[in-house]
Amino acid sequence: MNLLNPVLTIIGYVLVGIGAFCQVVAGIGMNRFPNFFVRLHAATICAIGGSFVPIIGCSLIALSIEEFGVIRFFLAGAGFVTAVFLLILAPVGSHLLAKAAYFSKAAVLYPKAVDLLEEDVERGEIRE
């Protein structure tokens, strides 16, 4: 176990570093991108690269700290469960929001190359 601890720590720090980088980039993207449907991609970077990855990293670091005693398993376990919830729920949130925004016309997909969904709606194939 003692041999494994430094490895876990280093991996954890690398993951936290990746998370920090992704957060900054996603923040810049959030402000640079022109409309809602493009910003969704920046939000994905925030959720996965920026939050899921560092939470896993923190769990690994916590596992390697023996001064915390038994409580470190609590931190690591809760961190893993949080990360799994994030992994399942974040995309669903984005999807629901995108769908509602698209069909309620609250946000418009303006600079667009192609919109096959709109064509199908106009053809009457989809009623929403």
Binding site: A47, A78, G79, G93, L96
Partner: protein
Amino acid sequence: MTVEYLVYFIPFYIVGLVLYIVRALKGPTLPDMVLAIDCMGYVLAALLVIFSLYLGSPLIIACAIVLTLWIYALDVYMSKYLEKKELGE
């Protein structure tokens, strides 16, 4: 085996947080604001975990999971509102 180097990473998360706040306060449309609040929630969840490690008190971590869940619930409410259907259905 030490947690004190975590402090060098925290400022980057704060920069991200501030950028999301800017978008959330500016956001021209409703979905933009909700998306920015989402991102704020996610980066806060990561920050809570990092802080619980950095401040050396692992017991306070349960807040992160609750934050993640309720931010998702906020998404669901807003998309239900935007869909303009009856609430029960």
